[in-house]
């Protein structure tokens, strides 16, 4: 029997699109024949705002790109500016930064796990994810007072030192989390319905995934052994023992497993960082910094000027954010404001591959494959 082709609209307001994203699907019966993605509903002109703010003022805007993992956004931006102005960051600041980055990776993957399984129809997983996330957010609250939009990184270091009692609380969290991950794996990984929904769904092989610009855990799920923390080591990652988590199956299940493994690796990194945290400054005192004030309490001993002008030049830096490669292209014309800030967001580029993954499948498979790409619309639309 021949069926007419049907144009089906999904979104922009749909619970499974994780924000405001619209799919225009060409359906042949239940089979997706073509998928067009319409975006921009959350476009706030962040790149233009970057040109109008000073270097320091732009940091809070980076929080609002990928609001589930604000720390890596902060970090990618300040790293670009530091590379542009050639600023040395004290060792303690780098340790604190890596601590916050890896904690954020765990938060991101917990929300990924919860929302993916919620999209597949099981309501409890998001409660588990948010339960653990809450504990991590309390740690952040201790550290900088904010729970989602931290603005904690500063050019040349971080805003505040670790509060008293932070490391013991972090150790409690790590211990608790290690047990919880085992629980999740027992509850989820062998679940028959979950496996049926995930295995061999949204398959994309390594060459195609690279060509479509996929990065991060989504690419490692296609068997590409790559991790920017390993390939172009930055911060203190060269001194830390961890491995890039790779799976060869290329399907949704592989992408899910990569993220679960990454949480364990992040815990491993957190433990090392917590054990070897050095003493010292938390923000640079050299070059653009001003000499320490005498008699001031230790937290404000070092001071980085609010208005500073990096030399003329341009830089592109890439970091391994929880969702993939997050890059900032910053151009300086020697004034107090950037001439151009370009954001290479992982969500935007990972989404390119989605139509390729889901053509020939059904709509519930679209939800499953889409969930495992793990995007945030604030990051797609910028």
């Amino acid at each position: 029997m021949e069926t007419d082709e049907l144009l089906l609209n999904m979104g922009p307001v749909h619970p499974a699109t994780h924000g405001v994203l619209r799919f225009k699907l060409r359906m042949d019966g239940e089979i997706i024949r073509d998928c067009e993605i319409v975006m921009g509903y959350l476009h706030r002109g962040t790149e233009k705002l970057g040109e109008m703010k000073t270097y320091l003022q732009f940091i809070p805007y980076t929080d609002r790109l990928d609001y589930l993992s604000a720390m890596p956004n902060n970090y990618a931006y300040v790293k670009a500016v530091e590379e542009l102005a050639d600023i040395e960051v004290p060792l303690r600041a780098e340790y604190i930064r890596v601590l916050t980055l890896e904690l954020n990776r765990i938060i991101n993957h917990l929300v990924f796990m919860g929302s993916l399984i919620l999209d597949l129809g099981a309501n409890t997983a998001i409660m588990w994810g948010f339960r653990e996330r809450e504990k991590a957010l309390q740690l952040y609250e201790m550290l900088c007072g904010a729970r989602m939009t931290f603005s904690y990184m500063r050019i040349g270091g971080v805003r505040e030192d670790l509060p008293e009692g932070f490391i013991p609380k972090l150790n409690d969290f790590i211990k608790d989390m290690e047990k919880r991950i085992v629980d999740y794996e027992q509850l989820i990984n062998g679940n028959e319905i979950f496996l049926l929904r995930m295995k061999n769904i949204g398959v994309i092989n390594a060459d195609e995934a690279i060509n479509y610009g996929m990065t991060g855990p989504s690419l490692r799920g296609s068997g590409v052994n790559y991790d920017i923390r390993k390939l172009e080591p930055y911060s203190i990652y060269p001194d830390i023992d961890f491995k890039a988590c790779v799976r060869k199956e290329c399907d949704s299940y592989a992408r899910y497993l990569v993220r679960m493994d990454e949480m364990k690796e992040s815990l491993h990194i957190l433990r090392q960082v917590a054990d070897t945290m050095p003493a010292g400054d938390i923000i640079t005192t050299q070059k653009y910094g001003i000499a320490p004030m005498t008699g001031a309490p230790s937290a404000v001993m070092t001071y980085f000027p609010r208005i500073f002008t990096p030399p003329v030049g341009e830089v592109y830096t890439r970091t391994e954010a929880p969702k993939g490669e997050l890059g900032f292209y910053v151009v300086s014309d020697g004034t107090t404001k950037p001439y151009r800030v370009k954001i290479r967001s992982p969500s935007f580029c990972n989404l390119v591959a989605l139509p390729k993954m889901i053509v020939g499948l059904k709509i519930p498979d679209l939800i499953a494959a889409f969930g495992t790409i793990d995007i945030v619309l604030g990051d797609v639309d910028r």
Binding site: G40, E47, N211, Y212, G213, Y329, F348
Partner: protein, 167 residues
């Protein structure tokens, strides 16, 4: 010899000059030769097009391509300089699929035309938007109002006449 010099040796006619962008090899390419150069770059093993950036320098436009090779673990940056009136350059979307969206974004926000692109329409801003926001001469004063039409298309106006008003 870094990747930019290798490219210059292979295609001396296409490469204007080579240099470094902080720690990444940089080659400035003639505008007409970008598609050929991109093909060569892909042959050299640069399988990942990381990002395309368009910059308005008031007297000229620059389009910057950042490449990475998963095989050789190397970076390469290509740069094309375009004149300020009617900037256009050949599309590389036929070589890297990700360039499709990256070029659409650059067209949308900076207003650079990519000739030969399969579907060069706005991606972040609504169709019918006036101007390209990341140009330095973009009009920041005029407000633009967007509503959704009957078939889901975007309607843009500068006086708000498309907004619903109570009589």
């Amino acid at each position: 010899m870094n990747a930019a010099e290798e490219l210059k040796q292979a295609m001396p006619a296409a490469v204007v000059s080579t240099g470094m962008l902080i720690d990444k090899p940089l080659a400035i390419i003639k505008k007409e030769e970008i598609l050929k150069a991109a093909g060569k770059v892909k042959e050299m093993g640069f399988d990942n097009l990381s990002v395309i950036t368009g910059i308005d320098y008031r007297d000229r436009f620059e389009v910057i391509y950042n490449f990475f090779s998963y095989k050789k673990k190397e970076n390469l940056v290509l740069k094309v300089v375009l004149d300020h009136e009617a900037p256009s350059v050949d599309s590389v979307a036929s070589i890297w699929k990700v360039a499709d969206w990256l070029e659409r974004e650059t067209y949308d926000l900076v207003g650079i035309k990519f000739t030969g692109h399969p579907n060069l329409v706005r991606i972040l801003l609504p169709d019918g938007w006036n101007g390209h926001p990341l140009r330095k001469d973009y009009d920041m004063e005029t407000e633009q109002f967007v509503t959704m039409g009957e078939d889901g298309e975007d309607i843009v106006s500068t006086d708000g006449s498309n907004l619903l008003r109570r009589r």
